[in-house]
Amino acid sequence: MTTYYSEDHEWVEVNGGVATIGITDFAQKQLGDVVFVELPEVGKELEKGDEAAVVESVKAASEVYAPIDGEVSEVNDALEEDPALVNSDAEGGAWFLKVKIADKSQLDDLMDEDAYKAFVAEQE
């Protein structure tokens, strides 16, 4: 199981042919109190860069873009009931969606944990 990170502050945990996608702790801190998460339909075909989800904080809406191509196989219904989970457990229980990975080579464009840490340090 390997976790990758995007420049849009998403994490992508790869488990066989399935990727679990969420936003990072850095991203949730930037957003502030999350009050609503709009998730895609299961079965939707996402291409890298497509709008995969929308996170609403008290103040504003922010898009979450698909970091890789893939068909949505599962979404985290717990976020509907408890959107604040994104603030309390961004890189764990508050995953957004799972996709069937269409093209493994796209993972090479993402960062590993050390590279992401360095990327975040630059932004802070």
């Binding site: 502030g32 009050v35 609503f36 709009e38 609403e56 008290v58 103040k59 504003a60 959107p83």
Partner: protein, 378 residues
């Protein structure tokens, strides 16, 4: 990170940084959108106890003429409100009008209580509009009435049900003020002006002081157990819950006061004298109903509708647009304001709001969404 390179600093800039504020450029000033506590916590702090906001970006100015009647008349000519009978020490909300009756800005005017200041009116206008407002006033005030900008003043807002407890320990005169009244006072020998007013729907105060005294005053108030700092994010969610307009969003120069449902700011004497810009349009709107009117909206479900979202009737026909929208921390539900034709303005009317590809179910709702708790005359 927000680009603050072009932003001016308020007198509390260093304090905002020290308190960990997330600074943004708002109305040309670097101001905190929130502190580490977050918008939700800061909002609740204000509803339950007291919150301190830096509103030094707002424009403070004086209008000065030979006597109250003359100065008040000069201001009346640019607004639909009555000021000649405004009592000393009292405040009033109003709007500047353009030739067609559209709103140039909304503002608060105060008649000082001190008889030595007869002929002076104090104005507080929106930060983002102040240059435009001052140019408008300079161009339209008659001879003998002068405008003086008070750019060397700071303005703090201490808002919430316990604001009075915190402030009166230092400024005893605060306790006796009623809503929309003002008095000069002093804290540790520093002259301040205290107004019992605000933009949150709660009891509270706005405190004007010299810029170089503002940080010490803010620290003094933040040291009180009831008080915590709050940023622009909470200020926005608080005013929206209270049904208060934000210029540039719910009000602009195409919207008149009848459309904005601000008829309460047009006193009877002005409806009779009709001597203000756009009076025909505005008075007709008050009488027969305007073409569109500002309403509150409660959204069913959890998804917020934001500014710019289209309001539709239940058949999907466009009827209006959302001008402010967000999540109401007190109600734990999304709320909005927008403009619709009067036929849709009755509370309870079902509408839908187009958000991305969804049609959110919503209902016209009375405002304020959360009851205002002003301290009026005993």
């Amino acid at each position: 990170m927000a680009d603050l390179s072009g932003a001016k600093k308020t007198p509390l800039f260093d304090l905002h940084e020290e308190l960990g504020g997330s600074l943004v450029d708002f109305a040309g000033y670097a101001l905190p959108v929130r502190y580490p506590a977050g918008i939700m916590a800061e909002h609740i702090q204000c509803r339950e106890s007291a919150a301190l906001f830096d509103v030094s970006h707002m424009g403070q100015a004086l209008l000065q003429g030979p006597d109250h009647e003359t100065t008040a008349k000069a201001l009346e000519a640019l607004t639909p409100s009555a000021f000649t009978k405004l009592a000393p020490g009292r405040m009033r909300y109003s709007v500047f009008l353009n030739e067609t009756g559209g709103i140039i800005d909304d503002f608060i005017v105060t008649r000082p209580g001190d008889p030595a200041l007869d002929g002076t009116l104090m104005l507080v206008v929106n930060g983002a509009c102040k240059e435009k407002d001052y140019a408008f006033l300079e161009a339209n005030l008659p001879d003998g009435i002068s405008l003086t900008r008070l750019d060397d003043k700071a303005l703090l807002a201490l808002q919430g049900p316990k604001a009075v407890d915190a402030l009166k320990r230092h400024a005893p005169k605060a306790d006796a003020l009623t809503f929309m009244s003002q008095t000069p006072d002093a804290i540790n020998g520093v002259a301040i002006g205290i107004s019992r007013c605000g933009y949150t729907g709660e009891d509270g105060f706005e405190i004007s002081c010299a810029a170089d005294e503002a940080e010490a005053l803010a620290r003094l108030l933040l040291a009180e157990p009831e008080v915590a700092p709050a940023g622009l994010g909470a200020r926005d969610s608080l005013r929206l819950e209270s049904g208060l307009c934000l210029y540039g969003h719910d009000l602009d120069d195409s919207i008149d006061p009848a459309e904005a449902d601000l008829g309460w700011a047009i006193q009877k004497s002005r409806r009779q004298d009709k001597a203000f810009p756009g009076s025909e349009r505005i008075l007709k709107g008050l009488e027969d109903g305007p073409a569109r009117i500002r309403v509150g909206l409660r959204i069913i479900g959890k998804a917020p509708a934001r500014e710019g979202a289209e309001i539709q009737d239940t058949d999907g026909n466009a009827i209006g647009v959302v001008t402010s929208g967000g999540f109401a921390p007190t109600l734990q539900a999304p709320i909005a304001m927008g403009y619709v034709p009067p036929a849709f303005a009755e509370p309870g009317t079902k509408v839908t709001i187009a958000v991305r590809k969804r049609a959110l179910e919503a209902e016209v709702a009375p405002t304020p969404f959360v009851p205002q708790r002003y301290v009026r005359k005993p």
